[in-house]
């Protein structure tokens, strides 16, 4: 026998029978107060160290062809000095509309050891040095603006997003984790987890987020033996599109900040081939965000893609690049003043390279991020330099936002 019960009715009932989820701040009604600002910010962490010199190619520098050799492919020209990697050619219409831009020769304050993991930790912490703090800069920013609701900010996907870690409420979800259990099973699961705050909070949030963009359809009380355990597996090659589409769905509603990762940038070997899949995912992601949010929201959206550090200026012995220092930041969206490559270009002659091997960073990667936060949420410069990015000197306003 099966008895239909809607998810919402179940949630209401389970709160009546004493499960403590009713007390959770995450179980406020489905309508959320609008965030105190309207611009959407998507922060993409490019894990593995994206080679900025390959993505935004300074072909106008006389040393470039010597350092990098024959690159192959038609790299679309950007501004007469820089050209775009051919694998991003699908983004050129955005460039033409001023909705794609770059900041070159940026890095975190991290130097010398060139560890991916420390580099990413510092990038996400937004601090001057690794000091054991577990908070991310986006979370500290949320703490400063106030009025933040459960779904104002979203960490998306299976990997941990340290950039959003911290005390301010952040939703955390992967689009393929919907719960398909009987209401009784869910209720009992809440009960067995109720004394363990971490498990209980995670399950409560999962219940909130499950099927959130679907009508709360009836759930079967008996487990159907033939019911698939999991939705049909998404081919790994398309998982990033699901993340982008889910992100776009949230941004159309109350979410103002979303963050996820794109991996696969660690191109130690055969640079020209190794970087292509990751660039393909990046282009797919930006275009899926644009299509998914719709024209009106896209006009208010800023996408910021940043990486832990750049790579060596020279190709290594295996046609790849090793861990470096200065890199590039990618900006997209209708809120961005694009169509240009920002940054102070240091040059590629050997004396201008950092430790004679890496692109010299001429600007802290946190500075453009700080100016974007200032433009979208109106945070004052002192707060940004002391709290969100402690120790940062933002410098002059580059005017990254329209």
């Amino acid at each position: 026998m099966t008895k239909a019960l809607s998810r919402r009715a179940f949630l209401a009932r389970s709160s009546l029978i004493g499960c403590s989820i009713a007390a959770s701040p995450l179980l406020t009604p489905m309508s959320f107060a609008a965030a105190p600002w309207d611009t959407r910010l998507v922060v993409i962490i490019l894990r593995g160290a994206m080679d900025g010199l390959d993505v935004v190619r300074p072909y106008g520098a006389p040393e470039y062809s010597e350092l990098r050799g024959a690159l192959g492919g038609e790299a679309p020209d950007l501004d007469g000095f820089f050209a775009l990697h051919p694998a991003l050619v699908r983004l050129m219409p955005l460039w033409a509309k001023g909705q794609l831009g770059f900041v070159h020769a940026v890095s975190t304050p991290y130097r010398d050891k060139r560890s991916h993991f420390d580099g990413q930790d510092l990038l996400e912490a937004g601090t001057d040095a690794l000091n054991g703090s577990r908070d991310g800069w986006l979370n500290r920013m949320l703490g400063e603006v106030g009025g933040v609701e459960a779904r104002t900010a979203f960490a998306i996907g299976h990997g941990e997003m340290k950039v959003l870690n911290g005390p301010a409420p952040v939703a955390d979800w992967s689009p393929d984790a919907n719960l398909v259990l009987s209401p009784q099973a869910l209720r009992l699961a809440q009960m067995v987890m109720q004394d363990d705050p971490a498990f209980h909070a995670a399950l409560t949030e999962a219940l909130m987020l499950s099927d959130m963009d679907e009508e709360p359809g009836p759930l079967s009380v008996t487990v159907d033996e033939d019911e698939p355990m999991a939705p049909p597996p998404t081919p790994p090659s398309k998982a990033h599109l699901k993340v982008a589409e889910f992100t776009a769905d949230q941004l159309r509603n109350d979410t103002r900040i979303a963050s996820f990762s794109i991996n696969g940038w660690d191109t130690h070997n055969n640079q020209s081939r190794a970087i292509q899949p990751a660039l393909g995912r990046l282009a797919d992601t930006i275009l899926a965000l644009q299509a998914g949010v719709g024209e009106a929201v896209w006009q208010k959206t800023a996408v910021v893609a940043m990486t832990e550090f750049g790579r060596t200026a020279r190709l290594n012995g295996t046609g790849g690049t090793d861990h470096g220092t200065g890199g590039a930041m990618i900006l997209a969206g209708g809120a961005i003043r694009g169509g240009r490559v920002y940054g102070d270009w240091p040059g590629l002659d050997e004396a201008s390279l950092f430790e004679r091997r890496d692109l010299m960073p001429t600007q802290d990667v946190r500075a453009p991020a700080a100016w974007i936060l200032r433009g979208m949420a109106g945070l004052d410069q002192a707060t940004l330099e002391r709290v969100v990015f402690p120790g940062l000197q933002m410098g002059a306003d580059p005017g990254l936002l329209l």
Partner: protein, 457 residues
């Protein structure tokens, strides 16, 4: 407090089993670890040599069809690839069966710990299933050796040389580079990770210069499929290298100075502390007792990195037993301990369809955030509990708990007995209630496996 047999299984093994008796003492755990490796014989996984032979054969098949564009040959190549993917799935099931039936859960946990510490995987399609044979050769036989022995085995293993790009790294002034324009120099990847991840740790006393010197010393470490590891003198950078104030090697280049440098790194006090701390975090707590870490470090140094002595120190310290159960099982361990709690029958596993293997193991692991033997980078999987207790992670675990056991174990156990055999003294009243109140046996089993008492150790 002190030693408890149930905690021994939970904290240092893959949980309690209804059919395998727990160890009686820390000494019994060490004796079982020193005994012959029964599980490796009962549930075999190919050696890397055997796997390499498959790679050689399959490359021939690929060449044959690329040359002739003959459809039959193309199909033969594809069939070989498909068959190997099935073999890889079979190895994953055997790894689960080892955890399920072993008398030494500690051995299986140590194999997993060191395989993670020395993460390596294939970066091209043909090597998709290479990790299990790598672990079988370089890690498993060495979990009771010295750390230096394991480090040498790993650093000279073909899969590590492939994974961290050592295979084609050449000395800028080597003979090979002088003869061949296309070879032109160093790749620092392996040298950096040996210092940063494998030995000293990222805060360790080494500089970019030391990384570069170690990379120069490493030139010549190569392999070929079919021939295995090979030291190629022609790739080696001439001259001696200075690493952390000591000179290694010279001309002619030889393998021995490389092994000497690895051994010096292995017995370095900073390495001792790095390893002791990782063991304490992995087995005991994300924030381990300082006394425990110091005790293990001292034994490491006194024994020259003898791993049996290191484990003895870990198991004899009171903090190993008195620290509350806080660590969350990562997804692989969560599923493996579910298998053990259900005493999954090898004969039943042999009858499982591929689809069932995918939906009870491969897909759930991916969705819980730990795709089988496929971490993102050489630093392996996170240790912090927060990385695993996410809404989607917990949702996927709950889904697995209520739906996978009936596939793995068609005669599900009686729920109250299952609570007792799985959670023992760790069962609380909520789990007892849930196991009784669930409306189906599969839900009841699921509630036990979803309980924090099962998920933490």
């Amino acid at each position: 407090m002190g030693f408890s047999a149930q905690l021994a299984e939970v904290r240092f093994g893959y949980g309690m089993s209804p059919v395998v008796a727990p160890p009686a003492s820390p000494e019994a755990m060490l004796t079982a670890l020193a005994a012959p490796d029964e599980m490796a014989t009962r549930f075999p996984i190919d050696s890397f040599d055997r796997f390499s032979a498959w790679v050689v054969e399959t490359r021939k098949l690929r060449k044959a069809f690329q040359k002739t564009k003959n459809q039959e040959k193309r199909e033969a190549y594809r069939a070989a690839r498909r068959a190997q993917n099935e073999v890889g799935m079979e190895w994953a099931m055997r790894a689960m069966l080892r955890c399920t039936h072993t008398q030494s859960g500690f051995r299986e946990r140590l194999v997993a710990f060191w395989a993670d510490h020395f993460t390596a995987k294939g970066k091209i399609g043909l090597l998709r299933t290479a990790t299990a044979p790598y672990i079988e050769d370089a890690i498993r036989p060495n979990v009771t050796a010295t750390f230096g022995d394991m480090l040498s085995a790993v650093v000279t293993h073909p899969l590590m040389l492939h994974f961290l790009d050592q295979n084609r790294s050449t000395g800028p002034n080597s003979k090979a580079v002088k003869r061949n324009d296309r070879l032109e120099g160093l790749n620092e990847n392996l040298a950096r990770e040996v210092m940063e991840l494998h030995t000293l740790g990222v805060g360790g006393p080494y500089s970019q210069d030391d990384v570069r010197q170690l990379a120069e010393l490493f030139t010549g470490l190569t392999f070929g499929f079919g021939e295995g590891f090979r030291f190629r003198r022609g790739f080696a950078e001439p001259g001696a290298e200075q690493i952390m104030g000591k000179s290694y090697g010279g001309d002619p280049a030889r393998l021995e100075p490389v092994l000497e440098a690895l051994n010096d790194l292995a017995v370095h006090p900073v390495t001792a502390r790095h390893i002791a701390s990782k063991l304490a975090v992995h087995f005991v707590s994300d924030t381990p007792d300082e006394g425990l870490v110091t005790h293990v470090t001292e034994r490491y140094l006194a024994s020259g990195g003898d791993l049996m002595a290191v484990y003895t120190a870990l198991l004899e310290h009171p903090a190993a037993w008195d620290t509350p159960r806080g660590n969350v099982k990562p997804p692989v361990d969560f599923i493996a301990s579910g298998w053990r709690a259900l005493a999954v029958d090898p004969d039943h596993v042999a009858r499982l369809r591929r689809r069932d293997m995918r939906r009870t193991l491969v897909n759930p692991l991916r969705d819980m955030g730990q795709p089988w033997q496929d971490p993102n980078g050489p630093d392996g999987w996170p240790e912090q509990d927060a990385a695993w207790i996410t809404p989607q992670g917990v949702a996927m675990r709950l889904r697995w708990a209520v739906s996978a056991p009936q596939v793995l174990c068609p005669d599900l156990p009686e729920p109250m007995g299952f609570v007792a055999s799985t959670l023992g003294d760790f069962a609380d009243e909520h789990v007892q209630f849930a196991a009784r109140a669930a409306e189906s046996q599969s839900d009841a089993i699921g509630m036990v496996l979803a309980a924090p008492a099962f998920q933490r150790r």
